[in-house]
Symmetry: C2
Subunit: 330 residues, 2 copies
């Protein structure tokens, strides 16, 4: 008998919730602004309320006895043993919070809802979502890399999440590839995120454009100042044939490829699934990334190498959170 | 009942063999020049002969029924499933060779010796040796990094070797930390080995010394030309108080620290055991490495961080090769 679960993706600006059927995939989903102004307890209330309302709506149709549980992906470091969430970025003031315990208590005390609860880091949840329902279905081992405001990652080894001894594995954004360079993020020099996180892309782009007074950007991007340079406008300029924009994407892809090569060297993982908003630029970033990945690895390690786009977009997190409940089924 | 095994470390210049008792540790060891001029079959003959002679000498004393088997660490990529050794560096002309099959056949056909045989990459064997008998005894998870002619590594996760999906994990020497730099090794730019492998250290040292005409090296290292700069002479100069030599070691340690930080970011491993000839420089390299490791990681990941010297020196490989046989015991 198949089963269904609720998946929640907790972010700094939005809480996403979805009903995921093990066989059918996503049946329904909603997105709500995160009620973070009330602090952790306010967010716990919000999550519990959403879970209760979705459970009440779908249990009659899908079967309460088939309900596998509630999965939750959260930003920051998640200690799964203790159920603690530590210092989630974009949720200021949380520090260390016993998320699992408080959520179980609230669901039970307020709604009489007792169910299995799985919590994990959001990037891990997204990687697991791609593994079970998305671009990772055919791979035994891969790393999901998300290119967005930040650069994050989740690792699947032998079809299971690799979380590391302390639960903080997969942080490719913090990998240093340019230790002698100028870029800094979170106090660390030359990391992948310092170079090709959204801020890094914008400053890299502006720096390169300033060197070329005659470009499509400067001449034809009417109404768009260089101050408005963003991954999106860079994409537009590149599709318009601007050689400088193409050069910027070449560099973005190269930095990504060097970072992926580090994963090959250390972990012997050769498949990479790339998601996040920036990955929407497609071959502008995939082509140079793959080229650089090959340049920065030994030829003997090229067999089976692949860089492919993620398939679940922004829903990878809710898919994966729900899938965590399926994986803990007997 | 305890048991014993034979451990062999196959290198380009020497074959080391040791008798390892599970409880007592190393009981005997020998080192022989590698008979590589005869190609793979010659080396197989040599290894089989050594194994037979050690087995014949020690089985009467230690008990043939307590013999756990023969473990072999080899350079290059080892496919444990197929028993294949591929392109071992320093053993030119080997290409892909069915080492396990040929060795088992030779032991049986020539000596009637049938025993369990475990083969693995030499860096993996060394890491396992440190885990079971050396500096890694107290750690559940760690990486062994060997600093020598090359920079290699082996990873222990949850007290077992992490080999990766294709058996090539732990290659920290191929991790790129300076993608925009000048140094290149094995065709890859800015890798840890390109910077602080033996050749990298020598060229980094010479480059820095050339900028400072008045140094201990130039004035007091009578009889030692800058052409003779090596890790050993650099150590001597640093112990003599030469500020430039200290600066070179500071850089060597920093590069190592940046590389280790990459392991923390991707794998969430926080304990590092450092071996190999260059690690003999002690705090000259350990102190800056630890400092840089902390600079290049998030403060939230500093808990439990450690960089410690290896304990088994050049014997780590034979210890670990033998220990592979113990671990496969029921």
């Amino acid at each position: 008998m198949t089963s269904w679960a609720l998946g929640i993706d907790l972010g700094g600006t939005a809480v996403k919730i979805a009903v995921i059927d093990r066989e059918e995939g996503l049946l329904a989903h909603e997105r709500h602004p995160t009620e973070s102004q009330e602090g952790p307890e306010g967010v716990v209330s919000q999550i519990a309320g959403l879970a209760q309302s979705f459970h009440a709506r779908f249990a009659p149709r899908l079967g309460a006895e088939r309900f596998a549980g509630l999965g939750l992906g959260a930003p920051g470091a998640v200690d799964r043993e203790k159920g603690m969430l530590s210092y989630p970025p974009n949720l200021p003031g949380w520090k260390r919070f016993p998320l699992e315990e408080r959520l179980l208590e609230t669901l039970d005390a307020r709604y009489g809802l007792r169910c299995p609860l799985e919590i994990d880091n959001d990037a891990n949840a997204a990687a697991y979502g791609e593994a079970v329902f998305g671009a990772g279905k055919g791979y035994r081992d891969f790393m999901l890399v998300t290119l967005g405001t930040g650069v994050g990652g989740g690792i699947i080894l032998d079809r299971r999440l690799y979380r590391g001894p302390n639960g903080t594995a997969g942080e490719i954004g913090y990998l240093t590839v340019d230790y002698a360079g100028e870029s800094v993020h979170a106090g660390i020099r030359g990391t992948v995120e310092s170079l090709i996180g959204k801020k890094g892309i914008v400053s890299m782009g502006k720096e390169i454009y300033r060197r070329y007074p005659r470009t499509l950007w400067n001449e034809d991007m009417h109404g768009e100042d260089l101050q408005d340079l963003s991954p999106r406008t860079l994409e537009k300029a590149a599709h318009g044939g601007d050689a400088v924009a193409l050069e910027v994407w070449e560099r973005i892809g190269s930095v990504l490829g060097v970072g992926l090569a580090g994963v090959v060297a250390l972990m012997d993982i050769r498949t990479f699934i790339i998601g996040g908003g920036i990955s929407g630029a497609g071959d502008l970033v995939f082509a140079p990334a793959f080229r650089q990945l090959k340049h920065s690895t030994l030829p003997s390690m090229h067999e089976g190498m692949a860089v492919v786009p993620a398939a679940l977009g922004n829903e990878a997190g809710v898919y994966g959170a729900a899938a965590l409940c399926f994986s803990s089924l007997p």
